[in-house]
């Protein structure tokens, strides 16, 4: 079990490094997808099957497609292979954001009662997760749904082309 963990951890870390160091944008995106897959595998080894499956469904199946589509429609697709230098513009923003995320995660770890262990008993069953989402956690759940809807409407508003004046002519 330990060996499996280390294998997946190395796989995930290597994918993450590839995602930020490759010069080819599509390779970066694919490495990021492999990284998401590694996280899902880690969740499976921790017996968090539901979270693992959702991680694959949402991140590997949906978010990654969003990233790939964003790449394809915002850039010249034929030149996607030979662009972008890693660590160029926005380097400092990246470092600061990274430090913030790590700080938040480290701070959050303080609140855990014990270190996470591959202990099946500590994982909530799926039905219980569902029940919590519509009872105790209903407000954050709805707030997130509202946020995502707002983001969707906003992106649609941005994407819609302004009708130009001469388009009115028959």
């Amino acid at each position: 079990m330990r060996a499996v963990f280390y294998l997946i951890a190395i796989w995930t870390a290597a994918s993450g490094l590839l995602a930020i160091s490759r010069r080819n944008m599509i390779h970066c995106a694919l490495a990021l997808i492999s990284f998401f897959g590694g996280i899902a595998a880690l969740l499976f080894t921790l017996h968090a099957d539901f979270l693992g499956a959702v991680q694959i469904l949402i991140y590997v199946g949906a978010i990654s497609v969003l990233i790939l589509f964003a790449l394809m429609v915002t850039q010249d697709a034929s030149r996607l292979g030979d662009r972008t230098a890693p660590f160029s513009r926005g380097k400092w923003t990246g470092w600061i954001l990274g430090a913030l995320v790590f700080g938040m995660l480290g701070y959050g770890l303080n609140f855990l009662e014990s270190s996470p262990s591959p202990n099946a008993a500590s994982i909530l069953p799926v039905a219980e997760i569902g029940r919590l989402l519509v009872t105790r956690q209903a407000v954050p759940f709805l707030a997130m749904a509202l946020l995502l809807t707002a983001a969707l409407v906003g992106s649609a508003a941005v994407a819609i082309e302004e009708p130009s004046d001469d388009a009115q002519d028959p």
Binding site: H27, L30, F50, A53, V54, G61, M72
Partner: protein
């Protein structure tokens, strides 16, 4: 006798397992894995081969042709000839293609195709991986194939491949929502994500009177094994139809085979693939077809449930083959849709209909009387279908006027 025959594969597996533990102590976990994986890895490629032959024969029949008839009796050995042909063909990689991604794509596309088979209950006690989140796992693993298709489209560095890949992803992402929503209704009513428990929840437990005759007992047996199918409930019927249509789109099969529309973009994402790499794409498509039909049978048609003389695994595969036959029939009957029709159909018709179907399933769960649930649920689905049809209908154009020069 029936019970023995019904469990013949399970018994065989147990016998092998007992033999392994007796002679190779410590080899049990490995044997257990091989016994789950082995049959899937052997049987489904065989089904794939048989399906290619059956599809060509059936399509030929629909089009008043003979179909394959040179290799073996009735062309039955055609898949073998095709296999040898693809194996011996030259493997061509375009010069400017991204070699790594181009090679990885056909390998990656096989992974979800086989992964999803592991959660299908193919008979009583015959689920390779009896996960408690089986249905979710099916959809999660299935969504990986989009990435593989994108890799194939992008890695080939061919405009047709790229267009085909983009079309495939756009289509699969769009149709995934009604696809999952239609399965959600079953999960709601059965109250579980496990495929095995979903099948079990579709069997009834009526008891025949002790002094009942043979005919009455047979009727009760039939009602127990068939009467509980979710297909026979209002939300289940509409859910199954939504599932089937969305499944056709997920599989990129006709009439939704826009990603590989030959007349427009050659063969879409497999334009630049030859030899066995192409065969891998072909195989993953057909095995996914078996998997989608298998889940459809599990969710709506009672899985392996069926009246007695036929064993449970026989029923499962009968239902799967029947659904696959309908898919081939559809391919021989309907013309391909246009891209704009495809998106309109997914977002403006199928998605709202699937949402209304969820409501109908809720009505079924909470209305006290079955008759009221039937009436209300049926009326709801009928009204939604009629209203959406009116809404999506393209604007009427007047009669065309011709001007001759």
């Amino acid at each position: 006798m029936y019970a023995w025959f019904d469990q013949i594969f399970v018994r065989f597996g147990e016998a092998v397992l007992g033999w392994v533990t007796a002679y190779f102590p410590g080899g049990e976990p490995l044997a257990r894995i091989l016994l789950s994986v082995g049959p899937i890895a052997i049987i489904f490629p065989l089904i794939f081969a048989a399906t290619t032959w059956a599809e060509r024969k059936l399509l030929a029949r629909i089009q008043n042709r003979l179909g394959p008839n040179r290799v073996g009796p009735a062309g039955i050995l055609q898949p073998v000839a095709d296999g040898i042909k693809t194996l011996t063909k030259e493997d061509i990689v375009p010069e400017r293609a991204d070699r790594l991604i181009h090679t990885l794509a056909p390998i990656l596309v096989m992974v979800p195709a086989f992964l999803v088979l592991s959660v299908l209950p193919m008979g009583r006690n015959m689920t390779a991986a009896n996960l408690h989140i089986g249905v979710l796992f099916f959809f999660a693993a299935g969504s990986i194939s989009q990435i593989a298709i994108f890799m194939a489209g992008w890695g080939s560095r061919n405009k047709y491949s790229l267009l085909g890949g983009m079309r495939a992803i756009a289509q699969m992402v769009s149709y995934e929502i009604p696809f999952i929503l239609s399965a959600l209704t079953v999960v709601m009513v059965a109250g579980t994500l496990s495929t095995t428990e979903i099948v079990a929840s579709q069997s009834l437990a009526l008891a025949a009177a002790p002094d009942a005759g043979l005919l009455a007992r047979a009727a009760v047996h039939l009602a127990n094994t068939v009467g509980g199918w979710y297909l026979l409930q209002p939300w289940g019927l509409s859910g199954f139809l939504i599932y089937f249509v969305a499944g056709l789109a997920e599989l990129n099969r006709s009439p939704f085979d826009i990603p590989e529309g030959e007349s427009e973009i050659i063969a879409g994402h497999h334009t630049e693939y030859s030899g066995f790499k192409f065969a891998l794409f072909f195989m993953s498509e057909y095995i996914s077809m078996v998997a989608v039909c298998g889940l459809g049978a599990t969710l709506f048609l009672g899985g392996w449930l069926g009246p007695k003389p036929i064993p449970s695994w026989g029923w499962f595969f009968l239902k799967v083959f029947a659904l696959m036959g309908v898919m081939i029939w559809v391919r021989g009957t309907f013309p391909r849709m246009r891209v704009d029709q495809l998106m309109t159909f997914a977002w403006k018709f199928l998605l709202p209909l699937a949402l209304v179907n969820v409501l109908a399933a809720g009505l079924w769960m909470y209305l006290p009387s079955r008759a009221a649930a039937w009436l209300l649920g049926g009326a709801l689905m009928g009204a939604a279908y009629y209203g959406l049809c009116r809404l999506v209908r393209p604007p009427k154009t007047g009669p065309r006027s011709y001007r001759y020069a």
